[in-house]
């Protein structure tokens, strides 16, 4: 297990050193946040949450989701350049590999959350107690679990050329339809229903709950859990279909 842990840490470190990764999952959400914030940051939502904090959670979720999905989808590259054959010549077990991949996906999402939150505190004037900041950040982070699995599915089914566009399509669809770019309240009724069936809506929603001192919505936890279970089942089939080549 310590082997899988070292592997996780080294892989995560090497991902964090990758410039392209930082641009898409940290810099872009950060810039978008600052932009949206300068436009709407001084408003207050109906339930008393300041818009600066609302946008901050949306953009942190947007960046973190991208980091998580991209990390899993990288398996497609590893499979197809033959890197997985190299890994099979080590003492890492297939189970250890899967756990490590999920852990890497979760780890590389942390910078997006931390940095967008920092921008929210420093520039955005989002005002919350220390406890609220932590609860929100941790809820957001845990809400990323389905995307770790989703990214790995892309990694197992997609070819090298398809992995990146597929990742972008899935990522943008979830972000937009889940209300990370525009608040769901501005959607037509039917689209609001769609949003509430998506994990992305709830990832942001459970992270916003601590900001209004409301408890984490149970519906959100259930939707996220259902997606995680469903995707894991699909993921195991995809893994077997990919020739079980770890």
């Amino acid at each position: 297990m310590s082997m899988a842990l070292s592997y996780t840490l080294i892989s995560a470190r090497s991902t964090l050193r990758n410039g392209r990764y930082l641009v898409f999952t940290v810099a872009l959400p950060l810039v978008l946040y600052l932009m949206f914030n300068s436009l709407y940051g001084n408003d207050t939502t109906d339930n008393g949450l300041n818009v600066a904090a609302y946008l901050m959670v949306s953009m942190a979720a947007y960046g973190a989701m991208g980091a998580t999905i991209t990390a899993g989808a990288r398996i497609a590259i590893e499979r197809q350049v033959g890197w997985n054959r190299q890994l099979r010549l080590t003492a890492l077990s297939p189970q250890g590999y899967m756990v490590a991949k999920a852990a890497i996906a979760m780890l590389v999402a942390i910078p997006a959350i931390v940095l967008v939150f920092a921008a929210g505190a420093v520039v955005g004037h989002a005002q919350m107690s220390i406890a609220q900041w932590f609860e929100s950040g941790i809820a957001l982070w845990l809400g990323l679990i389905p995307y770790a699995v989703l990214g790995m599915i892309i990694g197992f089914v997609a070819t090298i050329d398809a992995a990146q566009p597929l990742t972008m399509i899935v990522y943008l669809t979830l972000s937009i339809l889940g209300g990370l770019w525009f608040p769901v309240e501005q959607f037509p009724t039917f689209m609001q229903h769609v949003a509430k069936a998506l994990p992305s809506y709830w990832t942001a929603e459970i992270a916003r709950a601590p900001l209004t001192h409301s408890s984490i919505p149970l519906a959100g936890v259930l939707v996220l859990a259902a997606w995680t279970i469903g995707l894991t089942v699909v993921g195991m089939a995809a893994y077997r279909r990919s020739g079980a080549r770890v």
């Binding site: 080294i10 050193r17 990758n18 590259i77 190299q86 099979r88 010549l89």
Partner: protein, 315 residues
């Protein structure tokens, strides 16, 4: 020089062999890639696996490493199944081109593999041995072909293995690098480690291996020292018109293996064409239209598959 860490004291091998392949077969669809390979490699041997493309070298190596399941036959590496030997860190392998992860530094890459072994050598040491220490901060997609090959070599070394398996290691290396690489490979065996490398260069096999195993069309067709294989595989053909002399007589000349009559012209396959031509002219001064041609390696391989197997090596 390579020092061994104390944990890795070589233990006696249960059945005395580093590698034992028995009746190995593998087909892909209707293509028979490996058609019955039996091979024993003793610890400390440096064995070249020589053969043209499609001879079954890579498939055999994949089965030896446990990456591919044989259709029939058994593989034992240090007396155990290949996967156990791999997990125990006894086997280091350099796979064919392509196996480098893009977008990471060489140092991260070697370290990644290093932490996945039970008794690795320090990543820095592996990079040093492979001659890539100066490339540590370089990203893998910026490497030349030869540099990438040396990084793969570092990945193979980092588990501090007893058996090193290299699939066409010198592809993409220029002559000098190839020579330095082969020297490093020899150093690695200095303390009784075993090396098996696949190549399609006869010279390379002859220069750096104690033993050359020739594979063609999925079978071992020759097994001997480099010199033995060279004389058989890389033989020359001496052809001449020798009035009034038949093939049976010419077959007795020094250095001649066998003779074919092509009209008046006699085609003599030689193991030593120099000796053959001297002997020919000494005995039959009227021989004329003499030509000596070097055999084509591919043809020689194919010919070997039809002729008898040479057994130069005690097995």
């Amino acid at each position: 020089m390579i020092e061994r860490a104390p944990h890795a004291t070589r233990q006696p091998v249960p059945d005395g062999a580093a590698v034992r392949l028995t009746g190995l077969r593998k087909s892909f669809g209707h293509i028979d890639a490996v058609r019955g390979v039996d091979l024993t490699i003793v610890p400390g041997e440096v064995v070249a696996f020589l053969g043209p493309n499609g001879a079954g070298k890579s498939t055999t190596i994949d089965m030896l490493l446990g990456l591919t399941k044989p259709d029939a036959g058994t593989v034992a590496v240090f007396g155990t199944d290949p996967s156990s030997a791999v997990r125990a860190g006894k086997v280091g392998a350099m796979l064919q081109a392509g196996a480098l992860l893009p977008d990471v530094t060489v140092c991260d890459l070697v370290q990644t593999i290093s932490v996945l072994h039970r008794h690795p050598m320090p990543a820095g040491r592996a990079m040093e041995l492979a001659g890539v220490a100066d490339l540590a901060k370089q990203r893998t997609n910026k490497l030349s072909g030869g540099q990438a090959q040396r990084v793969r070599y570092a990945l193979a070394l980092v588990s501090d293995p007893d058996l090193l398996v290299l699939d066409e290691p010198t592809v993409g290396m220029d002559v000098e690098v190839r020579r330095a690489f082969c020297t490093s490979m020899r150093q690695f065996t200095a303390q009784g480690r075993t090396v098996m490398f696949a190549t399609h260069y006869l010279e390379e096999a002859d220069d750096f291996a104690d033993r050359v195993v020739v594979l063609a069309q999925g079978r071992i067709v020759a097994d001997g020292t480099g010199a033995q294989i060279k004389s058989t595989v890389a033989g020359r053909t001496l052809s001449a018109v020798v009035p009034g002399v038949g093939p049976d007589v010419l077959g007795l000349l020094a250095g001649v293996q066998h003779v074919e009559a092509r009209g008046p012209r006699m085609s003599m396959h030689c193991t030593d064409s120099d000796a053959a031509v001297r002997d020919l002219l000494a005995r039959f001064p009227n021989a004329r239209d003499i030509e000596i041609t070097a055999g084509n390696l591919e043809d020689a391989f194919l010919e070997l598959t039809h002729s008898t197997t040479i057994e130069g090596h005690a097995s």
